[in-house]
Amino acid sequence: MAAVVVRDLSMTYRVPVRQGGLAAALKSVVRRRYREVHAVRDVSFEVAAGEVVGFVGPNGAGKTTAMKMMSGLLHPTAGTVEVLGYTPWQRRTPFLKQIALVRGSQPTGGLQELTVLDSLQYQRVLYEVPAGEYRRNLDELCELLELGPLLERQLRALSLGEKMRAGLALSLLYRPKVLFLDEPTLGLDVSAAAAIRRFLATYAGQTGATVLLTSHYMTDVESLCRRLILVDHGSVQYDGPLDQLSARLSPYKLIRVSAPSAAKEDFADIAEVVATHDISWDLRVPRDQVARATSMLLTTLDVVDLAIEEPSLENVIDRAYREGV
């Protein structure tokens, strides 16, 4: 069963424009000119209940706008969205109690002078979480997010990483069925980002929540999502398994081989050498020739180590942004 159904979704903004200079400024007082910006164009997809989907694209691609429409903040110019059977922008109470939007740019809303515990108790009342369930969920969130030391601290005094942990706890306390994550690791250091990723993977696995994730960090997408929706210029450019995007965009694999006695010319008939590091070599091989190349390397050279790698997702996505899918 689909938790999110998006059909022909479009969003067009009207933005004021004028030429530079005093005359144009005066003219704009009498007559304003506008330009239409198509942030999202005819986007359609479905997300099954329990699925974790990466929603990626370059800056200005329209992914945050689409996510705001799916969560109910924006009203589209055209098209329909159904989340758990509700039209999001009607913002019905039963709908709002089943979804959460977590934004890395603003992880915690609400009253910043309150402690994290005060804020969690406020969420309990707001979302009518029964006392027993509240205690269970809080214990679990405290353990997964290492929230204990933060409970008595004011929201305004938390670091960015701590704010994100608190923001996730506030958003997940009532166990939303659909979770919209907009850049959840934005600005976090490596350890904090890894902790958030571990938590999200555990949470999604344990609760069966449907998750839509936007992120510019491909590690987030790789570690959490099997399916990727790639958006650019407001339209869906790719919707499918993550590994198939790599295969489609990068017809090569990378073989890293350590061979102390090898010389560059030894590889001439096997593969293209793309980098050398002391005794190790990086070779680029067409996907359909990986088995043959590996076999030749092992039989013709004195190999001490060998690894076959997919090109990094960063490179694949970069290529998709620059050249299209």
């Binding site: 109910g72 009203h75 109690k97 959460a100 002078e113 309150l114 005060d118 406020y122 009342v125 707001l126």
Partner: protein, 257 residues
Amino acid sequence: MNSRIPQLVAIRVRNQFMDWSGAWWFTVTLVANHAIGPLIGLVVWSAVMPSGQAPVSYYVALVAVQLLTASFENHTFSESVYDGRVSHDLLKPQPVIIGPVGENIAIRVWMGIFGLPLTVVTALLVGASYRWSEALLAVPALIGAAVLRFLWTWLLALAAFWTERVHAIVAFGNILIFLLGGTAAPIALLPEPLRSIALALPFHAMLGLPAEIATGAVQGSDAGSAILLQLGWGVAFAGVAAVVWRRGVRRYAVIGA
């Protein structure tokens, strides 16, 4: 949902009260800012009418009314529109207005805590006097004034959905309250037809009316009619605010949250 609204408002007031506890010193400056207008009126009108007790008692009562009806929705709600925090509130399962209402009440409680002792000291120093019965009769008008002034400021603060110059709009609204509400001069001392116009407009009901009832300047059926007029303005403002709110949110949702 509706049966939960009083509970949600009460919790919001409590939370906002705690939130503002970290800025008590700022609240003191708010008290000073809001008390200064009526205190200047007190000095000026005491000089103009040196033998009159009425302006003294009126302006001291006006200090209390001013402190307990002060509204800052351009600083609280409008700023949340500008920096996007209102998005969090739009996705909460409760009416958004509960936030501004809760914060409004919490700020007034803090202003009362710091400002009412100042008012009592001023009353003792200048020899203001009141009858208990008239002071109690002024309470319904005071509550009406508090609601009306919130609705007025909230209505103007909703302009934040259309312009980033909301502070100028609310400042103009406050000037109208100052001029026609009874701070610049007690309404009874204004020349006709200005006096009748001021009595018919909502600004007198936002500020001067409770002080006039407390001092016995307005009594009996006159007080009853004035409170009914206050109620009428409250209903009108609430209706207009509801329409503007819906259009504002729709615009926010169309141009980008």
